[in-house]
Assembly symmetry: D2
Homo-oligomer: 229 residues x 4
């Protein structure tokens, strides 16, 4: 046990002298050293999560910061193959397309104005494999991609009018959990045109349904190549 | 340690022969016996939670069951005073009155039809003190009271039209967390006209805000007498 | 969403008329029906956990019950293959062999009496695949296997002398997390000699280290065939 | 809602220009401003927790850092009374005196060497009220007090011999949860001789019993005056 933690401690020590470029490299460094120290082992895996805050300018012009979670994974095997994944967990909002459509009919509403529907907190997760040595994928970009895939991003601080506009924005982009997953994956493809075909991508969306006592969940584990075809 | 658990075990054993009438009496029984066995103690407190399912008939006529949580507390002191509380935790839904009002204005909507707003899961908790020996307060009634205080109760199983109607019902009864608390307390007063003035009542409402990454919360600890005045 | 829950509700309804034989068959039933109802789907997975209590007779002769968790999984695919896993999560105790050995040396103790060491709560998980229609694997047997793989099982209710004997038993069987995993797997092989080679087995042990602020964890996913060879 | 968060945001903004001296002052600042902005309110309460790391030198001479949790509370009322509490949550280890004594008897051991017993992770919490403007109570000192009240503090990184010595140290200071609470309170009295009589002190100890599936817990809410008498 202590041997593994000693490694983590050593890596942190070196990081204090020359900081690691990112969380996934930190994981990869530990995974590689763990494998070196355990001769009998064939594979080592390291996972890490970190609180992360981004400075934002709210629609009102006020400045603040929004909370996110960084996630990273690394896997090293005895054949010398090293896999790294970098990702983010983001909280946003979805509005249900199905209930909105039925409510339009019930209300005989045939204009294109937003109709009421149930909406709720959604936790979107997006992880991308990064080639060894590459820093092509940036966590801030992933946050932008996930927030755009929600019906709307959410904010800690909103004036009354901004709150209303956020709600209307969500109602103009109603989405199921499977839509959030699909839209994240489409954005990844556009945003990273040069990622190789065998790059793994994981997208998840969990909806804390306001209309139900249980959550809805969608997930797709795929590759850039599969997304391209 | 073992002595305390032996008591719980004894109480469960007797309960298997002649079942306890309710969870708060179970707590009260253990609290009293704990005080008896620990001569040096001046007060003992016992808290319990239990999963609870109620059979319901959904609007579609289908039958099913919805999940709730029963909560009970008992406190016995060396002067022989025994206090029991019975309560429930219920999951429902609130729709925000404020965003709805601003959206009406933004949309120049002056009819009384429901306008879009943010809505979300709400956890309502209601606990009432019960006099020794009294079984005046029934958990099923408390569930009814809490569900009526939400913008709408929620259901595990809904056909599309029922889902839309549930959403519309919530939009016709928009509520802040403090409204849920106030409405629970008003119902308690109407539902239990004969409870004595010194009966303690606790009401809480926690909203998992769809528009924010944090929750909103309201709580009032009061007495039937204070509510009457 | 509702369609999936309707299925769960239907399965529960039929189960009330003719009870399901076990939790994994319950999962398998839902997995199969989910796949039938979703024509576009290629695979469906259902996981369930349930609180479980076993009546026990404590060393003192007192009767009581100990808490466990049942876990079950089922996976149905479009080719008609159905996989079921049944398992248990059990809380027990491990005593560290390494610290005990060093303490023996420090104390110049060369008899075979138990020496002090750190010991702690351990959560053991054991899951076994069961062939379709087979009820060869029983949860109560799995609990017995996991409890025997700990340094000692633990109990809710112990007289002072029994507590001491439990502690001594643990010190006579000191184990690392990897020992708990290995011993569970060896017992599975002995206990189920007729299980086919391709039967999947999952064993995990998590130790809430008393000497550290973090946990230690070991896991092996293997097959009966691999264990036999 | 937004109004409250705006306040938090403002306080954080000012803190970035001139940092707050400590977490409890941060809470007190927000509590006071909340009360100012809500004319109808009679009392406001703010609670905060923060991850905290202390640089330590391990017995081996290696340097590292150990994780703790800071806790702070502030309460402002309409009469202008402001109460602040600062505290820490610390993870350590307790060894059971009772099982050790019985094992000594069972083993006919009458020397004063450590005998085996069950030991486990313990979470100690200590909170002290601080007078307005005072910074007499320092979180690092509270951590020292709590760690000394355990059977032993624990460490993330231990060489084999240090691990054995930590275990032996714990066995030479066996303690129940109520001992941990009492010893924390006695240390507070010695360490802070000038705190006024009406200073509130809260001490808790929770033991994740290795011998049981449930935890043991002790708590005392008292005042410096009561401790002195």
């Amino acid at each position: 046990m202590s041997r593994n933690l000693e490694l983590v401690s050593e890596v942190i020590d070196s990081a204090l002298e020359s900081p690691v470029p990112d969380l996934e490299s930190f994981c990869a460094d530990i995974a590689t050293r763990l494998l070196d120290k355990h001769e009998y082992a064939t594979v080592s895996e390291v996972k890490a999560e970190a609180d992360y805050f981004l400075d934002v300018t709210y629609p009102s012009g006020k400045k603040g910061s929004e909370p996110y979670t960084l996630v990273a994974e690394a896997r090293a095997d005895a054949q010398g193959v090293l896999t790294k994944l970098i990702g983010v967990k983001v909280v946003g909002m979805t509005a249900c397309p199905c209930a909105m459509e039925v409510i339009r009919k019930l209300n005989h509403q045939d204009d294109d104005k937003a109709a009421p529907t149930h909406n709720q907190r959604n936790i979107g997760t997006l992880m991308i494999e990064v080639p060894k040595g590459s820093h092509a994928v940036d966590a801030d970009d992933l946050i932008t991609i996930v927030e755009a895939a929600f019906s709307s991003p959410t904010f800690s601080l909103l004036k009354r009018k901004e709150e209303a506009e956020t709600v209307l924005h969500a109602h103009r982009h109603p989405k199921f959990v499977e839509d959030v997953v699909r839209d994240m994956l489409q954005s990844v493809l556009k945003h990273y045109p040069s990622l190789p075909d065998d790059t793994m991508v994981i997208a998840k969306s969990e909806s804390e349904e306001s209309i139900h006592k249980h959550n809805a969940f969608a997930e797709r584990v795929t590759s850039i190549g599969e997304l391209r075809s």
